[in-house]
């Protein structure tokens, strides 16, 4: 018995010894409160009055040691702009490599400035873009040439590579044909005229084309290194070559990544950060805890409780901004319920459902204050040719329904009568497909169930399946109603509206929509170069989708709150290009060990 007690005491002692080897408590001095800076930032097109903001920081102010601790949401799959479409990968790629253009903070908002390209011009017919590159080198001394930019594009479009970003380049001449295998990559509309001149020819006039050139697929790729490293290209520090403001110095898969300043970068004097420590954090609570402790310097905070908690410490500045995305409900016009009734085939029924949902209440219930009620299917922040689409179009779906429909239930009964069916709504049930097994999704579905039940008397049958299965069902049209959050691929309404043209072979969400009018409007809008005309055509098309034919019920536009310690300066709040670190610096970082 004595022996056992002794052994246990030894064990306890060992445990205490272990905990003593812990970190010293971080010394977080109270930093004086700074007014939080908030406000949505809207990216604007090229604007002569929009000067790039000069960073006015005296040398004494900034910290001696410039580094930042940032989050990796998942392990990047490959550091190669041609073979990935993931946002973490894009972030690394755009910081170790140089796209043709970049986004910078202007005095009137954001503007597009030269990255790898010093300047560019468009031909009179709008089909040929000529980029003049600046003189700069890769870290091994080899010059960055126009041919390398061209090689990237050809590599993406080569069908043998099956690149996940090929669909983003279909505006380039012959790109779609190349992917089908009908022509070779050499015949695609991109050519290096000389070492510093890149010429891109488009399929047709594309007003938003320059918006694509700050993305990772317009970075240069070294063909010699691709041949040398083969399938390992971009998967480790040894197989990644950089020409950008930073370079990879460490990559522990699933754990962390370290970037250090690249002294060979052409604008190295402007880069203040010496090191970027990227930590992979999977759990939301852990992420917020680290942000609170300043072991992570910046994060997107979407949980309302944490937002309040962090703001209350007065150690953070934050920018709330509206994302270019829309959470919408979709209705399948071909849906037949168990009794063989196709009530969603009638436009009045659909409009009744759309009208009975209070968007403001829905946004509040589903997202508290991290969303704004949707004004239309196209996000409120989206631009077209440098102007804000929503503001210029003036169309607001909430107002439109408020004016036209005073009694949704009566409208529903009208629709049912038109179909020759029994006008009692409680007889009908619509399958509501939920593409997630999370408990929160169930709660969301329950909200819509209640709303539709109370306002219309209709039943929703909630079906929860895994996201992959739901995707398949949406594509096959096996649902009654469902929801999707879609984000803009690029800054133009066509990214939202083109996908509903009825002549398309395949739809992501198959609503059985069939309206030749819609197709005509879309085709005309895409062929036009006149901004006012495009505005009118796209607005009319959107109205068909959300009001007249009512296939889509937009509910809210999500918001994001990027919070960082107040000692972090220089981040540009936008969600079109990858996060850039070259403008970031720290002033007054609290002492930690």
């Amino acid at each position: 018995m004595k022996k056992i007690t002794t052994i246990m005491c030894v064990l306890m002692a060992l445990l205490m010894l272990l905990s003593a080897c812990g970190q010293e408590a971080a010394n977080n001095d109270a930093v004086p409160a700074v007014t939080a800076n908030s406000g949505a930032v809207m990216p604007e097109g090229d604007d002569a009055d929009n000067e790039v903001e000069a960073t006015q920081v005296s040398e004494e102010e900034i910290d001696a040691q410039q580094f930042i601790n940032y989050i990796l949401y998942y392990d990047p799959s490959v550091i190669d702009g041609t073979m990935t479409n993931k946002s973490m990968d894009a972030m690394i790629i755009c910081n170790v490599n140089v796209p043709l253009t970049e986004i910078a903070q202007g005095t009137n908002g954001l503007k597009i400035v030269g990255g790898g390209a010093e300047s560019w011009e468009v031909s009179d017919d709008g089909l040929v873009y000529t980029f003049k590159l600046r003189d700069f080198n890769w870290e091994d001394g080899v010059k960055v040439t126009a041919e390398q930019y061209a090689y990237s594009i050809r590599r993406i479009l080569d069908p043998a590579n099956a690149s996940p970003v090929s669909y983003m380049l279909f505006d380039i001449k012959n790109a779609a044909a190349c992917v089908k295998g009908e022509i070779t990559p050499d015949e695609v509309g991109i050519k290096a005229l000389d070492e510093n001149t890149l010429e891109i020819t488009l399929e047709k006039v594309t007003p938003y084309f320059v918006q694509l050139t700050y993305q990772p697929y317009f970075t240069p790729t070294r063909e010699d290194l691709v041949n040398e490293w083969g399938s390992q290209f971009g998967t480790s520090v040894e197989t990644t070559m950089s020409c950008g403001p930073f370079k990879l110095s460490e990559w522990v898969h699933d754990s962390k990544m370290t970037l250090v300043k690249n002294d060979a970068y052409w604008n190295a004097e402007e880069v203040k950060l010496g090191q970027i420590n990227l930590k992979l954090i999977r759990d939301m609570q852990a992420m917020m805890s680290e942000l609170m402790n300043h072991t992570i310097d910046r994060a997107s905070v979407s949980v309302p409780e944490w937002r309040q908690k962090l703001i209350a410490t007065n150690e953070f500045s934050y920018g709330d901004y509206i994302l270019s995305g829309t959470y919408s409900l979709f209705m399948n016009t071909k849906y037949v319920d168990d009794n063989g009734n196709n009530i969603l085939g009638n436009a009045k029924v659909r409009r009744a459902i759309a009208a009975c949902i209070d968007k403001e209440e829905a946004a509040m219930m589903l997202k508290t204050d991290m969303a704004i009620p949707a004004t239309g299917y196209v996000p409120s922040e989206l631009q077209m040719d440098g102007i804000n689409f929503r503001n210029e179009s003036g169309y607001n779906v909430m107002e439109a329904f408020a004016e036209s429909v005073s009694d949704p239930k009566a409208l529903l009964i009208e629709g049912l009568t038109e179909l020759g069916l029994d006008p009692d709504p409680s007889l009908y049930s619509i399958e509501y497909l939920v593409g997630s097994t999370a408990a929160s999704s169930k709660t969301e579905a329950e909200y819509f169930y209640e709303v539709i039940k109370n306002n219309l008397g209709l039943n929703l049958e909630v079906v929860q399946v895994e996201s992959g299965v739901a995707r398949q069902r949406r594509a096959d049209g096996e649902f009654g109603m469902t929801y999707v959050t879609s984000y803009a691929d690029y800054n133009d309404p066509s990214t939202y509206l083109n996908g509903w043209a009825t002549y398309l072979e395949k739809h992501n969400t198959n609503t059985g929509y069939d309206n030749v009018e819609y197709d005509k409007l879309i085709d005309a809008a895409n062929a036009s170069t006149d901004t006012a005309e495009r505005l009118e055509l796209f607005s009319a098309a959107e109205k068909l989708l959300v009001e007249t034919d009512c296939i889509i019920i937009p509910i809210y536009h999500p918001m994001s709150s990027m919070m960082n310690g107040i000692y972090i300066k220089g981040f540009i709040n936008q969600n079109y290009a990858a996060t850039q670190f070259k403008t970031v610096y720290t002033v007054g970082r609290p002492e930690t060990n």
């Binding site: 022996k3 246990m8 812990g22 490959v78 669909y167 279909f170 699933d254 609570q285 805890s289 992959g468």
Partner: protein
């Protein structure tokens, strides 16, 4: 003995082969494909290119035989679809030591404490100490690991800042996850040991040994312990085998680069080579562990050796 080993080995091979086959076909029954949400964005031709590149356009049986051929003749588990350029073997090689380190440390922490508590409870049977240790054991088993992990993380890492909140590196990063992992073992082993010890303690041969003149120490270690350990061995060895598989929950909370998260992400991402690779890995580990259990039994318990040789 040799014959026994040979037959066992054959059985193990057949089991592994069955596991591979069943998993392979079950996997393909799942709707969806590795492209995931890209299916919505990529045009038909690009998707077709992707399928061809990964050999997914061939009929399932053909893919099965190609996979078996690669596995048996080249020992190649293939390349992950979701993480291009990384072979399944390299991902396992990177993640398994990490997961197993946590599991191992957790067990080193949990098992001795659990066993000691069990023995203590056995000797103090019926008294307050017994009820207390059994209550403790119940707590250890009932508290879900993610609750414990979050609590540990909150108090010791976030509030007291004694340990890092997340991450992986030196020993200090492994402490909290190991404790969270090992606590359950304390509960399990305490209860098993108590029952086993009590069982053996009251046997006639123990009384006989005591009356013959065995000292207290000799009695405890030579006789009671050796007999009481038998059922424990049955649990410990598979427990050791399963630590290689990692725990998804702990690895998510502490952001540990182990193999656990891959189990779930590879299925949701339909990363076929990864799914089978991992399944084979666990199957081999587990089958081998069971084999080890049988061997250990033979080593510990002479009775089993004798009956077998007949």
């Amino acid at each position: 003995m040799k014959k026994y080993l040979a037959t066992r080995f054959m059985h193990m091979l057949i089991t592994i082969f069955l596991v591979i086959t069943i998993t392979f076909f079950m996997m393909y029954l799942l709707p969806g494909n590795p492209l995931g949400e890209l299916v919505e964005k990529l045009p038909e031709d690009v998707q077709a290119n992707y399928m061809a590149k990964h050999g997914l356009d061939k009929p399932v049986y053909t893919q099965y035989f190609i996979y078996l051929k690669k596995l048996v003749f080249h020992g190649d588990l293939g390349e992950s679809f979701v993480n291009p350029g990384r072979s399944v073997v390299s991902i396992l090689k990177a993640g398994v030591p990490v997961s197993s380190r946590i599991g191992f440390q957790g067990l080193i922490f949990g098992i001795p404490i659990g066993l000691l508590l069990g023995i203590l409870a056995a000797y103090k049977r019926g008294k307050v100490m017994d009820y207390f240790t059994m209550f403790l054991s119940l707590l250890c088993v009932s508290i879900p690991s993610f609750v414990l992990a979050t609590v540990l993380q909150y108090f010791f890492a976030v509030k007291m800042q004694l340990f890092p909140v997340t991450g992986w590196g030196s020993f200090i990063f492994t402490v909290l996850p190991s404790i969270a992992f090992g606590v359950r073992s304390i509960g399990v082993h305490a209860r098993y040991m108590r029952t086993s010890w009590l069982d053996v303690m009251n046997q006639d041969y123990v009384l006989a040994a005591e009356s013959i003149g065995f000292s207290r120490t000799q009695l405890t270690f030579k006789i009671i312990l050796r007999n009481a350990m038998l059922p424990i061995v049955t649990i410990i060895v598979p427990e050791l085998a399963l630590i290689f598989t990692g725990t998804f929950v702990l690895e998510t909370i502490f952001s540990i680069p182990g193999i656990g998260s891959y189990f779930i992400s590879s299925v949701t991402g339909r990363d076929y080579p990864m799914i089978i690779g991992q399944t084979i890995f666990i199957a081999v580990m587990y089958i081998f562990a069971m084999f080890l259990v049988d061997l250990l039994y033979m080593a510990i318990d002479p009775r089993i050796r004798l009956t077998d040789s007949k």
